[in-house]
Symmetry: C2
Subunit: 478 residues, 2 copies
């Protein structure tokens, strides 16, 4: 394999794995780093010294995003140990790249001052983002450290909601006037000496900062130096407002293959820009959150958090689940007389409930995704309900029919078989109807349709399945 240079992703994959291995398998490494071993104890252990040296070399070599990933993949104690090794000037960047689930662990040994110092290596928009969302209130101290003219701008940005464009935009933009030549632009850029990361275009503004157009770097390179900016710029650029939802904007980036885009205020004045690297983070986070929320996991759950914290983040959904299971149990309890007459019902009822849960979960997963992709519109909603119920009807008749025959054969009772089939058809219909309605209703009430949808649909199909099956049995079999 060629191109295994010092920045090779493959090499860094190996280095991250090695670092995790060193910290988790040799307890002495973590203990030493946390200051729990005396110098003599350390000195006696040759392997330990080698391991410590290797950890140091790896931490020094790995770039901040890789360190962030490594920290996320460590249990709390090892995470603290590794964090102590990270140099001060890398810490800000690592914090920024790490997910918020591990922020608690990372900052709990740092003083306010140390934390603010770590942030100074970052751009002002990144500092604001961290200061606003870190689990410690540093906003005042950060503001105090800023020059007066910046403070006003920062204040303006602080109020945007977490998942809005305003919260993830960058301030670092290069602006041009429309009447200069490309040659002048190039001289200006050489004098600047650098551009913000991921700059693929410059923004053309009027004297009062109104966005007039965009000038791609490509355009500068492809056109003669004597052309003026306004002749070659894109005068109808895609621009976003700071209040817009980052997830929705991400879809536009994907659709239009954008690399960056301007953010403008309600008067069309340039405020900053969005870049594709932030958007990729939004996409990963969004889908990650969807998956977690559907199965009733908290967003804040960190996979390597200690037991106590994991218990805390999960108890709410467990409690919800227990309540719904308890209700289902009470439904069955209402039919105890029926069951005592025909104990076979107790064996068969979980089939009806289970198949409903499965179908309901399939339907709800599709609808939640379709909503995220903006595929569901008033016009096609009725088609969707009818389609899902059609699928449920066919599946119910086919599979319910099969289970009905099996039941008939097993218990030698055609009536029991008939009840089985009918109950399956009905519960599948309930499952698909609710699978469409639940997320739609949650959207109507401004809720995230993914949150706990799986727990909810299972509750309905369980309770419904037991009620339908035992109810039909009471009607027809007793």
């Amino acid at each position: 394999m060629p191109v295994l240079t010092k920045n090779s992703p493959r090499l860094r994959d190996e280095e991250r794995a090695r670092l995790i291995w060193l910290l988790t398998t040799d307890k002495a490494v973590t203990s030493t780093l946390l200051g729990k071993l005396t110098f003599a104890e350390q000195y006696d252990d040759g392997t330990l010294r080698d391991d410590l040296a290797e950890v140091g070399a790896l931490v020094a070599h790995l770039p901040a995003p890789d360190l962030a990933d490594t920290l996320e993949a460590l249990p709390s104690e090892e995470r603290h140990a590794l964090w102590r090794m990270v140099e001060d000037d890398k810490r800000g960047k690592v914090l920024l790249e790490a997910s918020e689930n591990v922020w608690d662990d990372l900052i709990d040994e740092m003083s306010d001052k140390a934390l603010l110092d770590a942030l100074t290596t970052l751009d002002i928009d990144e500092q604001i983002y961290l200061v606003q969302h870190l689990p410690r209130n540093l906003t005042g101290r950060l503001m105090a450290s800023l020059p007066a003219d910046e403070r006003a701008r920062v204040h303006q940005v602080m109020n945007y909601a977490r998942n809005s464009v305003g919260a993830i935009m960058e301030f670092g933009v290069i602006t041009l006037r429309p009447d200069v030549t490309l040659g002048a632009v190039q001289r200006y850029l050489r004098r600047l000496g650098k551009m913000p990361a991921n700059t693929d275009k410059l923004f053309v503004t009027s004297r009062d900062n109104t966005l007039l157009g965009e000038l791609a770097l490509q355009t500068i390179l492809l056109n003669p130096a004597l052309r003026r900016v306004e002749e070659v710029m894109d005068a109808e650029p895609v621009a976003f407002h700071p209040q817009e939802s980052a997830e929705k904007v991400a879809r536009t980036f994907e659709r239009d293959n954008l690399l960056s885009a301007a953010v403008v205020d309600s008067e069309g004045k340039l405020m900053g820009r969005l870049t594709i690297d932030e958007i990729v983070d939004v996409v990963y986070e969004e889908t990650d959150n969807d998956i977690r929320q559907m199965s009733g996991l908290s967003n804040e759950e960190d996979i390597f958090a200690p037991v106590t914290r994991a218990v805390k983040t999960r108890w709410a959904w467990l409690a919800v689940n227990l309540c719904t299971a308890f209700i289902a149990s009470r439904v069955i309890n209402g039919f105890e007389h029926t069951i005592s007459q025909l104990v076979a019902l107790a064996s068969l009822m979980p089939i009806v409930a289970g198949i409903g849960g499965n179908t309901g979960n399939q339907t709800i997963t599709m609808i939640v995704r379709a909503l995220a992709l903006q595929y569901i519109q008033p016009g096609n909603f009725s088609f969707l309900i009818l389609r899902e119920m059609g699928v449920a009807l066919i599946n119910g008749v086919v599979w319910g029919g099969i289970m009905g025959l099996v039941t008939w054969w097993l218990y030698d009772d055609p009536h029991l078989g008939g009840v089985m089939m009918l109950a399956m058809v009905l519960n599948l219909l309930v499952a698909s109807l609710m699978g469409v309605l639940i997320p739609m209703i949650m959207i109507k009430f401004g809720r995230d349709p993914a949150v706990g949808s799986s727990v909810m649909i299972t509750a309905i199909t369980d309770t419904g399945g037991f009620f339908i099956f035992l109810g039909l049995a009471t009607l027809f079999l007793l």
Copy 2:
């Protein structure tokens, strides 16, 4: 609101919604487009004529990616109708942007020749991608239409697996020699007159096409025209191999904030490049697939497919689910004597099974995501199992204790309460253990850990829950 230019994403959002509304609410529109209404019938209906004109204007105005999204959000008949309106020279692009779930519908009225003609508007790599994956074999005809020297290169690319770097790379790269000056580079670019889309850097190669470095457009603009390429290029670029997994490469793009990267063969020779827009598509697809697969939905399921097709894509998992439910039912059946003695067990057993399913699903969701993020390494695996079991133990004791007390109070039977609590603790331990083990084992056997993992864990916690609860009841209560 300003900046609602003709390309505004908000305007296009509205236009897509309007198009869907026109096609789905006025049946006559679709009928006319599909040629089911006579001219006289059309002519009589003023609204219809207006609607048709509006549909025509919208289709002409919306860019290809928006048309692709609209087509995906329509039932099959309306989809066919809209597709007939799309101009020939836009069709290739729309096919490329549409998800594969709708390809069937789009191409089934097109002849082979019409399809190949539609593809000619695309780059050769895009043509190859479509020809390889469209549900119709056109590879031979496409190859025949290519010049002999391109055919060899195409043959080489055709063999890469669907989710590999090779399948999504682009051939369109601009290469430079290391010894020319930046001024010469700029003259060369002006002569070329254009660059491939999303070009943020050029590639520096030797005479035998070995990749020597990368030259960012920024670097050309920021440095004096007399500097030579080799003095300012990045000589250690991140490069990928065509066999690598696209999903893994996407993580590297995210981690390193890449916009594009070279693809090189095993000898370090430049083959093409990857761009962030393809990577964003990979990310959306990957996470979408994960969500679908966990709940046992087929990848090919198109949310607006007709009922018959939806039945076909879902029957397999329903059958699996029915089998597992049947096994659980047989377990209960083995305890019918116990239940007939104490019919309260029938009401309580779904609680034990349900809480296990909930916990198991939470655990498995976390593990699947952590595996995708490469957080799980040999070193931290045992921590993870112990942690999940610790969480399960605490939750089991707390919630099992509460349910035990409730049971005691409801049925006035302390022994039944004790069995309830013990069964819940044990089933939660089973759920968390299997929630970690199932995805790990699937990885070991080279399977995708997301596929059907939710169905599997539910099967285990149901069967296990019934067995543990009824088994304990038989032991201690009879």
